[in-house]
Point group: C2
Amino acid sequence: MQKLPDINQNFSEWYNEIVYKAELADQSPVKGCIVVRPYGWSMWELIQGRLDLRIKATGHQNCAFPLLIPESFLKREAKHIEGFAPELAIVTHAGGKELEEPLVVRPTSETMVHHMFAQWMKSWRDLPIKTNQWCSVVRWEMRTRPFLRTTEFFWQEGHTAHATYDEAYAEVKQMLGEYVDLAQNYLAIPVIVGRKSDQERFAGADITYTFEAMMQDGKALQMGTSHLLSQNFAKSFEMTFQDQNGQLAYPYLTSWGVTTRLIGAVVATHGDQNGLILPPKVAPFQVVIIPVASQPGDTVWQAADKIRLELEAVGVRVKFDDRDHLRPGAKFYEWELKGVPVRIELGPKDLAQAQVVLVDRLSSKKQAILLVNLIDSVQAELIDLQQALFDRAQVRLTQSWHKAAKLDQFGPNLENHAGVYQTGWCQSPACELELKKFKATTRCLIEDREFETCFNCDQASIADVIVAKAY
Amino acid sequence: MQKLPDINQNFSEWYNEIVYKAELADQSPVKGCIVVRPYGWSMWELIQGRLDLRIKATGHQNCAFPLLIPESFLKREAKHIEGFAPELAIVTHAGGKELEEPLVVRPTSETMVHHMFAQWMKSWRDLPIKTNQWCSVVRWEMRTRPFLRTTEFFWQEGHTAHATYDEAYAEVKQMLGEYVDLAQNYLAIPVIVGRKSDQERFAGADITYTFEAMMQDGKALQMGTSHLLSQNFAKSFEMTFQDQNGQLAYPYLTSWGVTTRLIGAVVATHGDQNGLILPPKVAPFQVVIIPVASQPGDTVWQAADKIRLELEAVGVRVKFDDRDHLRPGAKFYEWELKGVPVRIELGPKDLAQAQVVLVDRLSSKKQAILLVNLIDSVQAELIDLQQALFDRAQVRLTQSWHKAAKLDQFGPNLENHAGVYQTGWCQSPACELELKKFKATTRCLIEDREFETCFNCDQASIADVIVAKAY
């Protein structure tokens, strides 16, 4: 097998190759669309399982809105169509005929959802409406990269309607909180939480909250967003309800989503020169068992299969690699590449001593573990690894989170993607535009406050902002 | 509330109205596309959960193939494009430009999957490949009906590749068996299992197995299919592998799918004049608790909520209807309409006697149940109801499964959809075409053998065939 590109020298190539070599995804014959292969889809199912539980626990109901949306719907909210028009894929012919009105393959479903909400909403008793759907959407992208930016991508999109602004605002913050919990406590990815600038926010939102992570190359990655939408959406779709005083009122709307980009974030946050390193909670296989100097059916082979059953019985996701045409070394290499957190090696000598060799993917240190202690040791190791991966990423983020007052000082560093910069900003678009010279953007406005003046002009800063080169 | 149309006199209108009134689905602004509302989607999630478990237990892996397929791909298998061409929705423009090659919104994914299989398959060691995806597909239909025939529908599509014909054939039969189990033991719908005629089989298949149910109006419904595909697919996509003798060989391919049509089948099999009747296994709520002569917070209300918790603790899906602006009668009506299998009524007098009133949706009989026996009684009632619904549908199918030798005898009955007819058939397309005069089709060839000659001509029958008017 060919070695992976150097992760330090050429992160971008390393990333692309590991995604394909680890069989997370494959290129498809359609520009910018990937095939998510079973190993990658299994990660997505784990993320879905966890997040879907939380979406339901917070009172949302799943449903399904149509894939195709009348083109005129998107034009009803002026900023929405302005933002999405360049990215649309359009069905013009169907059933052998040209359509009277073209249909858009959904880039996001606000317009369709709002049209339906308007039918379902009569009185304040019908509110809140809290829905979610898991699906794929299509945005025609010029430059794509597997998982991080693809023409078709998979996501969940939550859409809610509320009687009051305060309730809608609380919803936006609640789901942002759920996302941050998912990122940090499940994907082991520390994030920076904040509000998007007016220029960077969702096309048609009043407020967009974001959570951003920093990849190993020092570039920022938007992990997901939660929006308080403009009242224009409600007005455009004639969505009203009778409030408790009998008056017609417009509801307040939110939407929020995370995508298969999260898989790319796991790859780009935790991987190393030997391949993926998967946090145990999101690993399709948490443990791989590899028999050494053993043949199908012999005592070692049987012992390995027994260990599999015992680990499965306590809820560990485990793979017994029982392929008999591959040598152990080839199996070590493959599962290392695929980032399985814990490897168990078992040979005749180990078995004679009633032990196995346990190797964790992060340190590669070998430990002899007595069989009687194996389940406890594996469970402890998985917890430790989950934490160790988060801590390592947290240290990296902290060390690369710089603070600097003026763009002319930190601008050149930005271009080398040397981490993220916290600075002051007057919030004028003109100053924000100066960042383009260094191929950087504002990532989010944060609550922490250290700077008095703008990074670019002499005006007072309104809030601190995180600035970085981004995916 | 307006009454539902008469289920005996006007089944078709009854069906459409109950789907919308029970909030399973709603019409969308796109022709033939529905919105699956939370109550309907919840049924789909239950079906998915059960079937996905079996798909994985039988060694398949989920993954995701692109939504859009190059138009040229569909044309590679001649019969496939012939079958699907009239139904395609076509993306001609994307990213603000006309595409060089139009893209088809997938009507099914064989062509895309086979293109990818060809990349993944080198030697016999790579076989079998057993994949599945849950997604939606689009087929431009002229006449639609919610769940039973929609332009966009949701489904799973399994795709596999095998080294030998026998292995592929076993796969096709295995998944057919899983589907029949799902229909009978989960949806409580008895089915007829058989093989499609050459004219009715999947566009590009050598063999299509089907399982068909009979709706309350005596019309047959194809519930799902399992296909052994023609080797042409492998040849068209240059899909070869090196067999154990080092020779290049073509694999044998299968595909199989069931759709959200299954929800429609549940509606049309079990419902009655008062609305849906959901088999407990596929009911979003198995039990609804309705307090009577009670206010929020009083002892009855608290007791009702305690019952909810106790039932949830043993895994029953339960709804405590705690809306305080509706009278119990309105709630009875609504949950009856929505087909909840068991209703628990609880008032001050019941509580004084440490009992509740339990009403099952099928018989509407009221039983007083002591609180100490409640969990056992509910669990027993759910099992009984599941069985009773299957038995009732089984009786109906048996009574409407007629046997007749000649079309001129049974043809006129077919037109009134008076059930299904078993007869003999020479398997000539000309005789099959005669059925059109009575708006009927062959549903499937079955193993049972009772007729010696064809229903239409004097030729010998090759196999017995089921004939019916169908959805």
